[in-house]
């Protein structure tokens, strides 16, 4: 569960990104976060995986106040959250398998477990026959699937995706969406910031719209609601 109570975020340069956000995302939900560029969407997302700290207000992740978590404990908080980016953030000199395994090695998982689990998630994302390919040998859609596999490999209870389809053509975008839907169906909470009107309007999930740092709309089975 992710909760925000009266959350403000003001950056060092004076930019007010969030101006009092209240919301709650339950375990197992699928939520789109929409809003124009510069609306505070990205800040909203970054606060969830504790890349930013709120200037004011309380953020609870599974009941833990992230502002109060000591620095050295943050890594353990993050193990519960998988993050997916628009630009995939894969390591170019590692194969698909190694990229995913890297996430488990970094949390010091045992070797045997790594081998089994990495194959499992690569199968889940449909890349079990591309394991030894380097990112440069994979298409954009495939790369994003590797990055989703990496986000999933440590069994997080949340997956937070910041414009995961932003660099993909419609067909690949839909593949990614089906994958995220499947992950969600298995019980993982998915929070996804997006500009993709077609996807939001077709899939009809919960939509949180942010404008000028406040939540202006929060609907179940919502729509994208903006003219591009």
């Amino acid at each position: 569960m992710i909760e925000m109570h009266d959350v403000y975020k003001v950056y060092g340069n004076g930019v007010k990104a969030l101006n009092g956000v209240d919301m709650k995302i339950d375990q197992g939900e699928f939520v789109y976060v929409v809003g124009p560029s510069g609306s505070g969407k990205s800040t909203f997302i970054r606060l969830m995986y504790r890349e930013e700290k709120p200037t004011h207000g309380v953020i609870l992740i599974n009941g833990v106040n992230v502002k109060r978590v000591r620095d050295w404990k943050i890594p353990y908080l993050r193990r519960n959250i998988g993050v997916v980016f628009q630009d995939y953030k894969l390591l170019p000199n590692m194969t698909a398998y190694e990229n995913v395994a890297f996430a488990m090695e970094a949390v010091e998982a045992p070797k045997r477990k790594i081998r089994r689990r990495v194959q499992e998630v690569l199968e889940l994302v449909g890349l079990h026959d591309r394991m030894s390919a380097l990112p440069s040998q994979l298409s954009g859609g495939e790369q994003q699937r590797v990055s989703i596999a990496r986000a999933m490999v440590n069994n997080p209870s949340f997956v937070i995706a910041d414009e995961p389809t932003g660099n993909l053509d419609p067909e690949n975008s839909w593949d990614i969406m089906y994958l995220l839907e499947e992950i969600n169906a298995q019980g993982t909470t998915v929070v996804m910031a997006t500009h993709n009107r077609e996807i939001v309007n077709t899939m009809r999930k919960r939509v949180i719209a942010i404008e000028q740092g406040v939540v202006v709309r929060d609907e179940h089975q919502g729509e994208y609601g903006y003219e591009d």
């Binding site: 620095d71 353990y76 193990r79 953030k89 996430a103 949390v107």
Partner: protein, 297 residues
């Protein structure tokens, strides 16, 4: 931490050393120069303190006699000392001779001593040599309890001066060495900075997937430590080979009674150990500078 993880960190550190060959080389060289100076100093320091302790045991015991002692008293005392089984020889230096020696030592400034002939303030002296140098100190203590013995000293003058010298050398080396160590640490911190930069993507991903802060930091500390160890190898080798050659020429503990040098063992162990530890310390210090400055966790 698991052994497996440690291997991984070490591998990462090695990779980075190879990746920044020239920076690594510069940093290792800086450490090497610093440690060479430290190493040479260490050998000196160990030997000087050794020599001082040896000299303590060798030098003659000077007994200042009470002004009230008559010639008979002195003869008796001298006889008593000569009969001591621990004594090798006894010389009597009357105060007139003492003044003469003093004038010789003072040279030009002898004029300050003019007029003292008539009212010589110096004591008569008995100079005692122990049979066994090791017993000088205990013998001196024994003699100091005899009648008409006003004061006993044995070589503190010489050894004190030697220790003064070594203290002075130490201060110079410390200041100079500290400057070099700072320079070396700075070069190491630059190498580490390059590594942090080269691995920034990996670091970003490690943070995102929840690698602990120490998991992320370790490879950089190891890299710095390795630079320190690599930087220690050359100076340790040079210093020990050089010292071995010096011993070969001057001879350890023989030949010259004054230049009694320490043998290779266990000196080489101390010098190697201290130098390597110092190298690691400089290396880790250098990494720490960059880790604190550039590694955002």
């Amino acid at each position: 931490m698991k052994i497996e993880t440690m291997f991984r960190h070490t591998r990462e550190a090695f990779k980075s050393l190879k990746r920044n060959t020239w920076m690594t080389f510069a940093a290792v060289s800086a450490v090497a120069v610093t440690l060479l100076i430290f190493g040479i100093f260490l050998v000196f320091a160990f030997n000087i303190s050794y020599m001082a302790s040896e000299l303590d045991k060798q030098v003659a015991i000077r007994i200042s006699l009470s002004q009230t002692a008559t010639n008979d008293d002195i003869d008796q005392l001298r006889e008593k000392i000569e009969n001591d089984s621990a004594v090798k020889s006894v010389d009597f230096i009357p105060k007139e001779d003492g003044l003469k020696r003093m004038k010789e030592q003072w040279g030009e400034d002898e004029k300050f001593l003019k007029g003292l002939e008539n009212d010589n303030p110096l004591p008569d002296i008995l100079e005692v040599q122990a049979k066994n140098p090791q017993q000088t100190e205990s013998l001196a203590n024994k003699l100091s309890k005899y009648n008409f013995v006003e004061h006993v000293d044995f070589g503190q003058g010489v050894t004190d001066r030697l220790l003064d010298l070594s203290g002075w050398v130490r201060n110079v080396v410390l200041i100079f060495g500290l400057g070099l160590a700072v320079l070396a640490a700075f070069l190491i911190s630059n190498t580490i900075k390059l590594t942090i930069f080269a691995r920034r993507r990996e670091i970003e991903i490690m943070r995102l997937v929840g690698a602990s802060n120490w998991f992320i930091r370790w490879p950089f500390f190891i890299e710095g430590g390795m630079i320190g160890v690599l930087g220690a190898i050359v100076p340790v080798t040079v210093v020990l080979l050089g010292y071995n050659a010096v011993i070969g020429i001057l001879g350890a503990g023989e030949a010259y009674s004054f230049f009694k040098l320490l043998g290779m063992w266990p000196l080489s162990l101390y010098v190697a150990g201290i130098t390597i530890i110092l190298g690691v310390f400089i290396g880790v210090w250098g990494s720490l500078i960059s880790i604190r400055k550039f590694l955002r966790i």
